[in-house]
Amino acid sequence: MDINLNNIQIDIAKEARRFLDKECPTDYAREMFEDERGFTEEIWAKMIEMDWMKVRIPEPYGGAGMDQMDLTMVLEEMGRAVLPGPFFSTILLAAEAIMEAGNDSQKKRYLPGIAAGEIRGTLALHEPDGGADPGYIQMEASADADGFVLNGTKISVPDAHVADFLVCAARTEPGNDPAQGITLFLVDLSADRVSVSLLPTMDGTRKLCAVDFKGVRVGPEGVLGKLHQGWDPLSRVLGRAQVGLCAECVGGAQRAMEIATQYAKIRIQFDQPIGAFQAIKHRCAQMYVEVESSRSILYWAAWAQDYGDPEEAAIAASVAKAYCSEAFTHIATGGVQVLGGTGFAWENDIHLYLKRAKANEQALGDPMYHRERVVQLLTGR
């Protein structure tokens, strides 16, 4: 047993911190909050130079073939910076789906381009009637002689407006059980009859879209993985993505706690720093408890994605997603309160963290969904 970061991981985190502090301070997040695309080509190009696109992609496809824990180091820092842009959607969702379910020619077609930063993708999963349940997939893909025809609406699709393609989970057999009848499709976003509309979301640093499919044609080469058996690989992709969101949550929560505690040291009321009052002190201490607890559970979940057995990987992802995303919300909410009027003001950064916390909490299964899943995995029913 050794639950310490290795030197490579420590270096990855340090380099990421240095880069993001310099290139992507929260001024960048604020600017992109108001920007329709949500990122600049200049920063995207610099991120490519950092080799971040390559981290998880296997070496034969132009990547670095590193593990979830290595990627966690980068994502924690991105969370700290409330980094906007399509990194998460392209790397954690689209690329992982192709790595998990794709055949060699699909991998060759997409992965080297993603690793080089030339192609962007996302995952179309959530549906309007599914609420926070990512397993509610009713969008129809009907087979015909040439392949499949997709009809329906996907919602909360991150960064679809700047993506070149998306992976879409659709139903090829009727039913309610996600384990049966779901197929994954690769859909080119320049295709006919697919339309993307940017949603006016609360967290402007994470753009979400609605995607309408009105008879979109996908040929056999666009079927990702086995027909009707898409949930199995998809749930592994979601596990990694959920753990990825947890890493963002931990980095964001750490920074929100720092903002609150720094303010508590300098803000004077009743002739002393407010941090001397136990009402404030204990709130800050609880932030520390939840940040470090989140980090411990994150490390376990990240490790389990690569080295645990499948059951452990699945339950760890749900435990982490429920815990870390709620902790981030508590901490950011507490931060707003500690900062008082300043915390309520747009000028202070704390609201960026609160908004990202709520976005992450609801994405890819909310805490209620993950707690239910934990019981199913624990008891087998």
Partner: protein, 405 residues
């Protein structure tokens, strides 16, 4: 990074598990949380079982052999402790203060004679120890201790009172914090003693607690003569000894609690599968499922946070700041978990004694009440949050305390 035990550690764990199966007391029933009617019998069973562990080579794995240990690492000690607290916490509880507080204090801060005299007799089950820190006017404010020790001809004469002293009624010795110098600043006038409970002038009065049991006591000292040799460290070092030694064993305690609570999750699943509401097992109720999951999540937080702190300590040899939150991670969740368990049982949660309707031997009723002490004993949640805020986050002390110091 690796969350698994090494093959050698796995093998050691397996050996210990099979040893334990053969060496549990014959009259001990694992389905009951309390097998012994009297405190004295409980103490006797603890001592016998501790002796068996000692003879089997499973005590103080990380301490040197000359003091009764096994000369291995903290990891082996964690493995043994986790198995014991998962399997048979009842057989360990009377020795908790002994092993978590007296042993590390004597080992880390005691002199050679003290180590050789006391450690082997603790580890072979001869002696149980208690901890005399709290007083009527020194609860969370431990530095306010007023029990006096005055030096006279090679002895200290001790007068005063301690309170909430767990297992004093079964104890042979006491680790005792007293004031040797009332003229200096509060923290600097304290000294640390190893007290023989059989000395004339020591009086133990058991107190009944919220669970109806009498596991803690008042402790009175009336001109108790303690030889100078029983002082740990120098005069005036009592506070430092009390604080620092305990930090080193904290990760062990957190790892133990994680194992004990994993067993609680198993018990809760079993209970929720059998206990019904509206005619169907509560495990099918969506709200109770959320509570069960939350219980599991909090236990996993405790487990993996504990392992991370342990791993850090094994590597860096000093406890990191993340270790300071461990106690909050078991005390507060235990209250929430036992509360949820009571809720799952509905009105039957009121049945504490033996009846045809008693659920799991009344374990959750006892645990619910006992857990209320968790956030008070060994540093209240409020004091722990002060410590985290001030020592880890660097927030200022409040004006009144800052002025006084």
């Amino acid at each position: 990074m690796d969350f698994r035990l090494t093959p050698a550690q796995e093998a050691f764990r397996g050996e210990f598990v099979s040893w334990l199966e053969k060496n549990l007391p014959h009259d001990w029933d694992p389905s009951r949380y309390r097998n012994y009617d009297s405190q004295e019998e409980w103490g006797r069973v603890y001592r016998e079982f501790q002796r068996r562990l000692f003879d089997g080579g499973y005590t103080a794995m990380h301490y040197p052999k000359e003091y009764g240990g096994q000369g291995k690492t903290l990891m082996e000690e964690v493995i043994v402790s986790q198995v014991l607290f998962f399997t048979c916490p009842e057989l360990r509880i009377p020795g908790v203060v002994t092993h978590a507080m007296a042993v590390p204090t004597i080992f880390t801060c005691g002199n050679e004679e003290q180590k050789r005299e006391f450690l082997p007799k603790i580890l072979d089950g001869t002696h149980i120890w208690c901890q005399g820190f709290s007083e009527p006017d020194a609860g969370s404010d431990v530095a306010n201790v007023s029990t006096r020790a005055e030096k006279q001809n090679g002895h200290y004469i001790i007068n005063g009172q301690k309170v909430w002293t767990s297992f004093a009624h079964l104890s042979d010795y006491c680790i005792l914090l007293v004031r040797t110098d009332p003229t200096v600043a509060r923290h600097k006038g304290l000294s640390y003693f190893l007290l023989d409970m059989k000395l004339p002038g020591v009086e133990v009065r058991p107190m009944t607690q919220i669970t109806g049991e009498a596991e803690f006591n008042e402790l009175f000292f009336n001109d108790v003569r303690v030889p100078v040799e029983m002082r740990v460290g120098e005069e005036g070092q009592g506070w430092q000894i009390a604080i620092t030694t305990l930090m080193f064993e904290r990760v062990l305690g957190d790892a133990i609690m994680g194992a004990a609570y994993e067993r609680n999750i198993e018990k809760m699943i079993e209970m929720a599968s059998q206990t019904k509401r509206s005619g169907r097992p509560v495990i099918h109720d969506p709200i109770f499922r959320q509570q069960l999951a939350q219980a599991y999540i909090e236990v996993m937080v405790l487990k993996y946070h504990g392992l991370r702190s342990l791993s850090n300590q094994l590597k860096s040899k000093i406890p990191g700041p993340e270790g300071s939150i461990g106690k909050l991670l078991w005390s507060e969740p235990n209250q929430r978990i036992t509360e949820a368990a009571m809720g799952m049982q509905g009105p039957n949660s009121q049945i504490m004694g033996s009846s045809p309707w008693t659920i799991q031997d009344g374990y959750w009723q006892y645990s619910f009440l006992r857990s209320k002490g968790n956030t008070i004993e060994a540093g209240s949640s409020e004091i722990l949050r002060n410590i985290i805020a001030e020592r880890v986050l660097g927030l200022p002390k409040d004006v009144s305390r800052a002025k006084r110091q």
